[in-house]
Symmetry: C2
Amino acid sequence: MNIKTVPLSNVKITGGFWELRQRIMRDISIAATYYQLKVTGRINAFKLDWQPGMPNPPHVFWDSDTAKWVETACYSLITKPDHQLREQVDELVASIVSAQQPDGYLNTHFTVVEPDNRFTNLRDLHELYCAGHLMEAAVAHFQATGSSGFLDAMSRYAGLIDATFGPADEGKKPGYCGHPEIELALVKLAKVTGNEKYLNLAKFFINERGNVPYYYEIEAEQRGEPPKPPLQVFKDREYRQSHVPIRDMEDIVGHAVRAQYLMAGATDIALETGDAELARACHVLWDDATVKKMYITGGMGARPEGEAFDDAYELPNDTAYAETCAAIAMFLWGHRMMLLDTDARYADAMERALYNGILSGISLSGDKFFYVNPLTANLVNKSLERTTWFGCSCCPNNLTRLVLSLGQYVYTTTDDALQVHFYVEGEANTAIKEVPVTIKQTTAYPWDENVAITLTMLSEAEFTIQARIPGWCRSYSIWVNDTALDTTQLPVEMGYVALTGAWHDGDVINLKFDMPVERVHAHPAVAADRGRVALQRGPIIFCLEQVDNGQNLESIVLPASSDLDASFEPSFLGGVVVLQGNAVKQDIDGWKGKLYSTHASDAKTIALKAIPYFTWGNRNPREEMIVWIRESP
Amino acid sequence: MNIKTVPLSNVKITGGFWELRQRIMRDISIAATYYQLKVTGRINAFKLDWQPGMPNPPHVFWDSDTAKWVETACYSLITKPDHQLREQVDELVASIVSAQQPDGYLNTHFTVVEPDNRFTNLRDLHELYCAGHLMEAAVAHFQATGSSGFLDAMSRYAGLIDATFGPADEGKKPGYCGHPEIELALVKLAKVTGNEKYLNLAKFFINERGNVPYYYEIEAEQRGEPPKPPLQVFKDREYRQSHVPIRDMEDIVGHAVRAQYLMAGATDIALETGDAELARACHVLWDDATVKKMYITGGMGARPEGEAFDDAYELPNDTAYAETCAAIAMFLWGHRMMLLDTDARYADAMERALYNGILSGISLSGDKFFYVNPLTANLVNKSLERTTWFGCSCCPNNLTRLVLSLGQYVYTTTDDALQVHFYVEGEANTAIKEVPVTIKQTTAYPWDENVAITLTMLSEAEFTIQARIPGWCRSYSIWVNDTALDTTQLPVEMGYVALTGAWHDGDVINLKFDMPVERVHAHPAVAADRGRVALQRGPIIFCLEQVDNGQNLESIVLPASSDLDASFEPSFLGGVVVLQGNAVKQDIDGWKGKLYSTHASDAKTIALKAIPYFTWGNRNPREEMIVWIRESP
């Protein structure tokens, strides 16, 4: 099929929902996160001047935080040149490169803190994970600047890693990183450099993982660690997805970010090599992850212990971990799955995460972040508040790098078709059948249901536009140059409606995805959501906050008959659609001195106001919030 | 007010619900639990022939299990002589007494396993707890047989304990047991022997507990134990209710059996001494326990970790611990509260536990037991099945001793009144104003709503009969000798209706407590029960089992409009009332491949059958069960 992404440099987001988010990130988040990298010592760590006895030694995952900042900044530069930011990036990149050792090694922690322990604890110490993020940063820097210094440095480091790790019969260590990331980074590096060695190394990491004898256990024995109890050993293996080879996995388990970075890398390998067995595993695990273990917000990994996937349908709301990075990881994996087969359910899950469980990770002000994204804030977890930084600060720069690179996920092309995966205002330049085409989207999506797609072309061409019908959408209309199409007659394949014809310069396709307020039910096996509904309009999942609806949100019951109206409030929470209608609220006062009663709670009618989930906690933090509302039929 | 219980020897349970239970316990349970005591080594432990190096050393709490068996058997003998059982008891008692050391000490574990460590670890090793249970057994044996050998032995042991523990300024150890029990036992011993010394020792234990410096920490230091982290120290204190003096407690916390045995002892002391400050604490903690931390079954202690009370309103159903012993402990405490002030809410809570969370602890066959009594059996805990015995087997003999001594809880008398607390078929002999009165109850309670009380008296006497209006009862009728009384004109004080008059031999009072099927709601703060109802009829709480209602009980929704009929099935589960009616069940099949949907589950009408909670798990164990059913208004 020869599917290709339309690269970031070709896609400009010029207005609407995402331009606002990108603007805030360019104006606020990039500086705010750089400040944190600086004051915590992460930037200066590359000077390698830490010495034993000094405070604040470079931590094992520090390099990755800085690398993601560089990557973010480069994506910003690709889409909007900024001389000052460019200088700041180049200076930091020079500092990073200066930390490279003569043999190509580049890791601040190991170089200054434990130089003798390089590559002796892949299980715990994030060494190749950091290398992977530095490689991704180097690729982005090359793409943003055309300067290859960082890329060359990381290629040298990749060469060292390749010389170190590989099949035991080649005299190499048969290891793989405790935190996957390098796999997908090596695929990027291979593509941009054209060097297949990196792809082969990624393939080795993917294929070797989970083989017996277990590398981490051999490695631990070599370090002289005492053996752990069998149950702990088993849990440790699952935590790092090293319990069985990927091909043999039937369930997605363990640390949710690791699992999904790994699967993103595995999907890359399946794509690059055409490995059908590996692709099968990617499909099985994707289904398990998104059909049994995904919050309605796209949050992934329910279990706080081990930041892990829980059992199927175990999706508690108040103790939900749903790490920002895990939702991002699903997005990154979904993008690769979409290249494997263009089924709209990938974009559906990605969109679900993007507008909800990912975006909730950042404050509207752009300088505060959530690491965990629960679906209920109550006594159990109501101390939650977005904060400027974390000790383990993977999420902030992961979120900004995703949003500032969003353009590259919007379109793909195949030989004779253009796929529109997401509805984002902006312009993209590509070519179909070698005819250059500019696609312009004009839309207030997700607040509004209309999307206008305008084609600018130098010559007429016959091709297909495959536009995704969002999974949340139950009815839609399409016009081509003001002529309404009979949508019942249009072919829809795997969630994409196909508009085939001879397209001309100036052609306009109008899409209207009806956006009623919907009540969503969860699979009956999800205990936490039984008898409850979530409110959704378009891709946006809503929530109730205490500041709008009073205390005891769990006492609110939404009658099935209650109509909810959607209205856009331009000066509320940065401009959002809110939902309003009547509900009833149970009265707690009548319960004084009683624990059980044959008399149900008295209830009074209240005016309900629901806001987009991603905006919660931006007014009065440490108050109640719920997504799943009790419903009375 | 001079309230007195009518002792067990004066109350015969002659038919109906409790005669059946007592009969099964006499015929089956007593022998079955003796067998377990025997084969596990508990009986032979009193021979003191264990030596270091031999397997199966006497465990620290073994003596208490045997003591409770003796107590149970003695209650059986008091209410129904049995020559063979008497011989078995006397033989065992002789063996127990033979294990007493010259100085009065009596504990199999410490005598043979660690003779040098007597009284050095009150915190963990149940030493005074075992002594307390042996004292209770000795009192029961004296009451059952008139023979004082065991009582004298335990008085000697109590003397040794009194010489060892007490105020530091008297040169004694200011300690108290990690597992309360001896306090209430010493009060019993004081009453039956008339020796105030034991009462004073109990008072010391109650008053000293929780004082600074903390005894257990001093004791641990003396044993050379390394100090624990501060949080652990704090948790350890709360676990054993030794964090503050009882008078300063505002919440009931920690291990639920320990907490309630302690409060039973504290209530005893408040009763015996008239200590208003202590009585206040008893009231505050009773309210906290029963108005904020009690399952609808009377189960106490929600939290498996530490077998402990959870926070207020934290009453999850599937992970409910609700240890059988903890519900029994509440019953024992409630009895003492009832003597402090005759408020029907004590008997209401006791009755709730008795018919539900206590009785669920034993199989209908009388030989298998539950230690924990969850309100939902599902994937989380569906491996639950009653078993013949436990490593820590406190519950079986605790349950039998309660049921076989039930008669003593039915009535109390004051100077000019008789209180009827529970409705139990049988006869009791007492005297009011020195006039001997026999009260006979004829009733199929709790299956039937009618209770007939017949008085047999040698002479007419004027007094008041205070009959408890059960808390579950919302309308009732009373007839005296076939004359209907106007219940609106009758004085009801703290839940007891007062019938005052000149009573004659042969007078019959008929009580009818209307028993509709009721839907019970929980306080809105109980998250697990929101949008759900429990079914109740009279004091019986019902549940649904998979064997009657199919799999996926959580998919059943009970419409508010659905009528439920109650019918007695004499040959089902030993003769129980079952509830039947229509409900709807959500269809899980339509959800294949979906996790969220705007389409609510399809539902079909099903015939619902609910059985008494206490009978659950007697047919197909390891299947689903729920108490709280989702309701649609």
